[in-house]
Structure formats: C-alpha cells, structure tokens
C-alpha cells in the first residue's frame, strides 16, 4: 500500500464472544481514506459503526484482517505495533460527540497536552497549540477555561487537540450531534479545511442528516458490512 493512503483496511472482522453466543460485529470490512480526504461512515444503531471506530482507533483488537496507517501495516491478523498507547497518541486523532476537554486545563494546555505527552518541550507544544487555535479561530480564547467556552468553541478546541500531534488520521465520533445546522456545517467546513491543510485523513461517524450531503464519499455500514458510495459533496460556504 502506498504512502499516499492515510488509512486502509482490508477484510477487517470483529467477533464478540464465542460459540453459540458469538456475535460478528464486523464482517470483512474494507475501507480506504486518502490524506486530505473526509469520508462519512453512516449506518443505523447497532450496525457496527462504533466497533469499527474502536478497531480503527486501536482501542479494541479486531479478530482478523489487515490495517495500514500512513502506509505502515499496524494490524495483520494481530497488532504489529507493540505500544498501542503511543500509536493512539502520535498517529490517531480523536474527536468525540461531546468535546470532553480536560476541565482543569486551559484551552492552550488542552491542545498542548498531546505534544507534551509525546515528550515535546512545553514551549514547542504550546506554540503548536497556538498555531492550531489560530487556524481554528479560537486563539483569542487561548487562556480561557473550557467551561467559559461556547459549545462551538469547545468543539473547535477538541479539533485542535486531535490535530496537535499531526496524526495521519482523525476519527470523529458524531462530532456534530449536539449542534444546530449552522454550527454542524461550520464544524464540517473546519474539518474539511484541516484535512486539506494538514493532509489528514478524517473519518466522520455520523447519522446527522444535516451533514451527510457534505461528504464526497460515504461508507454505509449495515450488519457489520460496509458499502462504499459517492456522496453529494455539497459545497460548504
């Protein structure tokens, strides 16, 4: 697989339990997202979205299959990376349904925490945080506490945090769920901008009808199997 692919999975399966009670949450899932691309992953409740996200996020181990990240094989019927914590820290960004900012850190340190965890000097980490906050237009709230931010500002800070260690892939778990249409579309606009600017592959798990038309490519997941289709790719103002 070439380095031009952000994340690529082939035949990824996940089975919970054994014997008669076994449940196949994922069945031979294939997916490929290029750097700079934002794809949607949609499906009804219980279809396997969250399981796929957890496998992609190296939080749970798939049963079998193959997964590459930035061209490197990280899973091939078994993890090829010894420290998944470091993998998550340095190479995967996470955006959650709620921002889940650390309440006792200010905005800058919420973003700078990841580079600091990666043992980068504090000054460098904070400079990176300010760069991202500026790009996301929340630099004026750099010293504010998360509780002092609006919902939209908090979500932008969480996007900055996901980008802090320049990961090749970002996994966004329903990032627009609590937002109204205008703010949801604003978040999608930012994700697209960041994907392009930082050449990051972004997978957005959603069932938010407001943002589905904005994807150029969508993976439908149903009963643990994915089907790829072209999206509307509606322009974001």
């Amino acid at each position: 697989m070439g380095a031009s692919v952000g994340i690529h999975i082939e035949g990824l399966s996940k089975r919970y339990g054994e014997g008669d009670t076994a449940v196949d949450a994922l069945k031979e899932v294939n997916m490929s997202v290029a750097p700079g691309e934002v794809v949607g992953l949609i499906g009804p409740s219980g279809s396997g979205k969250t399981t796929l996200l957890k496998c992609l996020g190296a939080v749970i181990e798939p049963t079998r299959g193959r997964m590459t990240l930035g061209g490197e094989v990280i899973y091939d019927n078994g993890w090829k990376i010894s420290d998944l914590r470091v993998l998550r820290r340095d190479r995967i960004g996470f955006i959650f349904q709620a921002p889940y900012l650390i309440p006792f850190l200010d905005v800058t340190d919420n973003v700078a925490l990841l580079p600091m965890l990666a043992r980068r000097p504090n000054g460098e980490a904070r400079a990176r945080a300010l760069e991202l906050l500026t790009a996301l237009d929340v630099a004026h709230r750099a010293k504010a506490q998360p509780s002092e931010l609006s919902g939209g500002e908090q979500q932008r800070v969480s996007i900055a945090r996901a980008l802090a260690n320049k990961p090749p892939v970002i996994l966004a778990d329903e990032p627009t769920a609590p937002l109204d249409s205008e703010r949801a579309l604003a978040v999608m606009r930012i994700l697209n901008q960041m994907a392009t600017q930082y050449q990051t592959a972004i997978i957005v798990v959603t069932h938010d009808e407001k943002i589905i038309p904005t994807f150029k490519r969508i993976y439908h997941i149903r009963d643990g199997r994915t089907v790829e289709e072209a999206g509307e790719g509606r322009a974001l103002q």
Binding site: K49, T50, T51, L53, K54, G57, V59, I60, R85, V86, R88, R89, D90, F94, F96, Q97, Y100, I102, P103, F104, L105, D109, A112, L113, L114, M116, L117, A118, R119, N122, Q145, R161, D173, E174
Partner: protein, 397 residues
Amino acid sequence: MISLAGRDILHSWGKFVLTGLGLGLLIGVTLTMAGVYRGMVDDAQVLLNNSGADLWVVQKDTQGPYAESSSIRDDVHRGLLGMPGVAQAANVTYLTMQVRKGNTDVRAMVVGFEPGQPGEPSYLVAGRRITRSHYEAVADVNTGFALGDRIRIRRHDYTVVGLTRRMVSSGGDPMVFIPLKDAQEAQFLKDNDAIVNERARTTANPALNRPGVPGLLDAINASQTSNHNVNAVLVRVKAGYAPEAVAQEIRRWKHLQAFTRAQMEEILIAKLIATAAKQIGMFLVILAIVSAAIVAFIIYTMTLGKIREIAVLKLIGTHNRTIAAMILQQALGLGLIGFVVGKIAATIWAPAFPKYVLLLPGDSARGFVIVMLVCVLASTLAIRAALRVDPATAIGG
C-alpha cells in the same frame, strides 16, 4: 510536562481547601492526642526533675510516694545522712487536695518541704522563697493564685509569697509548697469534734487513764494530735557514688524502699500512666484509620467524578503512571493541606487545654510522614479505579 494534579487542585482549590480544612481538624485532634500523652510524660518527668533528688526513700514494700501511699517517720532522714554516699536527705510530704481560693476550690498537690533541701521549688517566677516557719506558701501559676493571695488549707490560711511555673504532680495538678511542719499537720490533722471525741474515748479507757500514773493521759492525748510521719525522704547522692549502690545499702540496712531516678520514671511512666497511654494509643489508631478512610473516600469520589476525563486521557495516549501520579499527588496535596491546617489548629488550641499538651517537633515530623503514608495508601483505591477505566468508554456506542 505540566502537572495535571497541580492544575486540578488549582482549578477546584475551594473544594480542596475545604476538604483539607476538615481533614486538618481531624489531624489536629490526632496531634493533640499525641500532645496529651507527651504532656503526661513530661508532667511525670518535671515532677522528678523538680524534686532535685537522686533517690526516693519510701515505706518498705510500697511504690510511693507518687504511685502509692507511703508513710515513714520523720527522723529516718537523720539515719540516712549517716550512710556512705548520702550528701543530703530531706523529708517531704505530698497531699493532693482541694485548696480554697476565695469562694472556689482549686485542685492542687500540697508539698511540704524543708527550705534549702531537695523538694523545694527549684525556681521562682515572682516573689520570694519561704523564709518563715509557718503559714507562707509558694504556688504554681496554674493554681491561679497571685502574690499576696491567701490560701485556705485545712484550718489555716497561708500567704502566697512566691510563684513558680511547671511544678505539677504526675497527674498534672499544680503544686502549692508550704513548710514541712505545716504540711504534716495538714495531712494528719483531725477536726476539733474528732479530737474532742477521741480525747473522751481515751479518758474513758481505764487502761490509758490510770489513777496511779499521773501524766500518762496527757501524753497519750498529745501524741494523738501530733504527726511525725512524712511520705518520703529525698536523697542527693555524693559525687562519685552510684545512686543504685547507695539505694541498695539503704534497702539493706534501713529496711526501707529506695528508688533511683530511672526506677521512679519507670513507676511513673510505665505504670502510673500506662492505662492512660494505652487509651490515647487506641484513640490515635482509630483517628488514623478514620483519617485514612476519609482521604480514601474523598480521593475515590473525586476520581469517580473524572472517569470520563480519565478515559479521554487514556485514549489520547496518557500513560497509566501519569494518571496514577495525578491521583497520588492530589492525595498527597490533600494530606499536606490537612497536615498544615492540623498543625496550626493544634498549636492554637493546645494552650487552652486544662492539662499540659506538649507538641514535640519529632511527633509532628512523624505525624507528617504517617499522614503522607496514609494518603498514599488511601489513594490506591482511587488509582485502581482509574486504571480500570477502559479508554474505549470515551468513544460512544
């Protein structure tokens, strides 16, 4: 790397300080309990120090004069003075009683002593020493008496001519020093009705009131109203003599009990206050357990309140030891706040206690180490809970 624990404490400092305040008061009580025990030990040692004796000679087969009653004749000291190694020997009496102070009573230990001999107050903070043979007193300032005050002891009034400090019994009662003869009278003197009654009984007894023996009845009556007993003889040993060797000679030849300083300390500390010490020790253990439980509960509750943040931290790659260190540092921070508050509180309220509370720096240092250890132990429950958090819970579904 920033201090997550420090930031969390700063973020919710009000909660931390209030919790630390509550914990601190508990630690203050614990330190005070230790101070009460130290005060009791110090009272016992002060009593021995102030007596200025190397040996305590008391009635045979007793552990007097402080732990048990002891009565010996007041001319015994003359014989002791003739023994090798004895430099000074002085009679003393000890009587714990309620002395009148105006319309109220003060519990005090009345000490009868001979001026210039072991047993007299070693220093004064005001006034002068007793110079008259009768009816003058030196009082510890804790009795509340001032110079010139009149103290009522039995049937006589004594004028306070001097004040001393930290002269207390092993029970912590302040001392009042009066001349030995007065003290002997006070210790054994009966009231007038009892004396009249006793004389009538003696007169009616034909064995004691013999017509052919003039003066016998008067002699018997006189002996009944005089006292020639003391509680102990305090002995100072000559330089170059071992107190234990001198004590052995006294036991052998005088048929009296003689205790050295070390033996008297053993009686006072290991025996007289042993039960109280165990009582306080039990309190200390219970307070330590309660403190540990409170710290554990607080830290555990605080950690449970941050489960989602901990899941996010673990998901984004925070090491388990970083999360454990955060919880541990918070527990230690809470312990530090608690200890500082407790130490200040104990220092402020210790002088208000009716008995001496001695807060030793060594006890404080030990207390600090124990508080920190208790916090470390208490945080393990919360750390276990935090380490069990699955990072996957940060992702919905």
